[in-house]
Symmetry: C4
Subunit: 202 residues, 4 copies
């Protein structure tokens, strides 16, 4: 069976961390320094508040993806080719988040912008969920951590992907609804983590 040992995991993780670190830092480029008269700077900063909001939201979303990814890889004892391919697909979705956040920020009234953001979050979340399933099936998870990973591979965990995917049609009702759903995923992830830890230690 084509598997490689835990030592090699380090470099996949380092590359993933690098990509996510760059992606999360690029989010700040979406907040553009205003080009106004000095006297109008106060108003210009107020006008920037939605951009700051989009920044912190995307930062929290990428941060959460990173935390979950971090936890998933800590529980692995090996990896295989499909996991590397899945990880690249995951990263290609993560790297689209700065673009989508910028799109959503500039067109905050347009359902399409929110739908694109929701769709990309949905894809990232789906691949992330599927990676948990794959690592379980392919026997890549350390024996003592199979319970914890199983929580993240469960239908309940798929709920996050479902929320992101549901935000796509909801965006066409009103973009604010879609945004509310994304924010909810940040809040909701906490309880899930607690469940996972309980199962892991039991």
């Amino acid at each position: 069976m084509e598997k490689q040992a835990r030592t090699d995991l380090g470099r996949i993780v380092a590359f993933t961390d690098g990509v996510m670190a760059v992606a999360i830092t690029l989010l700040v480029l979406n907040i553009e320094v205003p080009d106004v008269d000095g006297a109008d700077l106060g108003q210009a900063m107020v006008d920037l508040l939605p951009s700051f909001g989009a920044y912190f939201l995307s930062f929290a979303l990428v941060g959460r993806f990173w935390i979950v990814h971090h936890a998933m890889f800590e529980r692995l004892r090996a990896f295989d080719g499909p996991l590397m391919a899945l990880n690249l697909v995951f990263l290609s979705a993560i790297c689209l988040i700065p673009f989508s956040a910028d799109l959503f920020d500039r067109y905050d009234d347009e359902p399409i912008a929110a739908a694109v953001f929701g769709g990309i979050l949905g894809v990232a979340s789906f691949v992330n969920w599927y990676m948990h399933i794959h690592t379980l099936r392919a026997g890549l998870v350390k024996e003592e951590h199979r319970g914890a990973t199983a929580v993240f591979a469960s239908p309940v965990a798929f709920g996050f992907t479902a929320l992101f995917l549901i935000s796509v049609p909801l965006a066409f009702v009103t973009p604010i609804l879609a945004e509310a759903v994304w924010i909810s995923t940040i809040v909701l992830r906490y309880p899930l983590r607690r469940v996972s830890v309980r199962k892991s230690s039991s």
Copy 2:
């Protein structure tokens, strides 16, 4: 209790280093290559001097934040969920430094620009200070290093945060005063470090 071992700390640190490395390097994008006739390049470079000043100041500030973060994490023996969340909040403030430095550079006469920069530095500094307190309370610090961390969690160490926060109203007196305060934090951090080392080794 939901704590994870020191080995896992490596990846949080790697991610943090990655984000701070990108943020510190993005600072250079604020120095724009002038678009002038060749004959006017000399004058254009002189006009860029304040941008270079803002670059070196922000570089030093991010560099200092990195050094303190580095030292704090070296003294940990474990981490928990709240620390990861705090660290993300800290990083989201750090990533705003290239934006604020650019803002301050372009509007160097405007109190608001200096106030935004000071406010963001204040938030980063506050979260940093609170992380020290949290790691002590949650028992995440190695026994032999509790003294050193206590120095950074002390009211004296809060002085840095206070300085950054005080620079916000000071910016409305004159932005130069705010800038003077930021520079003082770079100079002042040295003595504190010395105290910390003495306590640590005693």
Copy 3:
């Protein structure tokens, strides 16, 4: 003989991973947020589809280069000066991929744009292939992995370089043909990997 031990390899790998992580993330900067009326955003997103295509293709190509590089360095037991120099040349070609992908995306009908992209991929692939040969000749490969590295240093593996180089004249027939060739290299690499693993374990 001027060789250095395996521990030192870590930093070359970390630097390489950093460069490739930044390069792969910069690819997203090629997808520009449209500047249109809200009502035209739908059409604008459809117009962006080729940019997304170029993004995913380049992401997959850089991803593949990373996977092969990763595997090559895992099999090393030491490095030497020429390998470091070759690695820098390799990275300088990789860093040109965001530029070439952008060029190809904006001038997708122009043979020259496709030829430049193909040429840069060809150079990266050639240096990568030559690095395998060099590590074998200079005795840098761990004894048990010489077979696996030999597969990547073989004339068959040179086929990838040849495909990229052939895509340069093909671009002048039609750029689509060149693109088809690049896509084929992503699909074809899988079987080669399998051969390599078989040889390695036998």
Copy 4:
């Protein structure tokens, strides 16, 4: 004495690698995708050749700085506060290289542009040289590697700094002369390395 052990060195090195990896990758942003009619793309690419030249030259220069830094830190057994400060100053100069390379590329006939590039290379080189001296004096170098580090701390090694500094006035004779000097430093570093290795192993 305020020194910290080798394990801690890892994170300084990781941060440095991150900064240098981002800086070296940002160099590609200086090559702008031309904005011309498709029919004029060939000529536009020819016009870009000097930009490619500046890209490869700066890539080689940052690459060399990285290799020397890498070697210096491999020979350390500890670090201290001044070394961290020096390293930050070094990095702040390295991060200016993408700016200076862009400046030099756009104003290739202007002595000032070449002088700025040469000056920044000179500062980076000087700090690098001084870091070798500091690590020797402060006893941070592993006993068995003191000979190798001494080579890089010698007046001969200062020659590189001198070459960069001399390129500043030479730029006012003609920028091409300054460029020739920079290229020479890439070629000349090889022999020095050889000397260092010989001393190290003797």
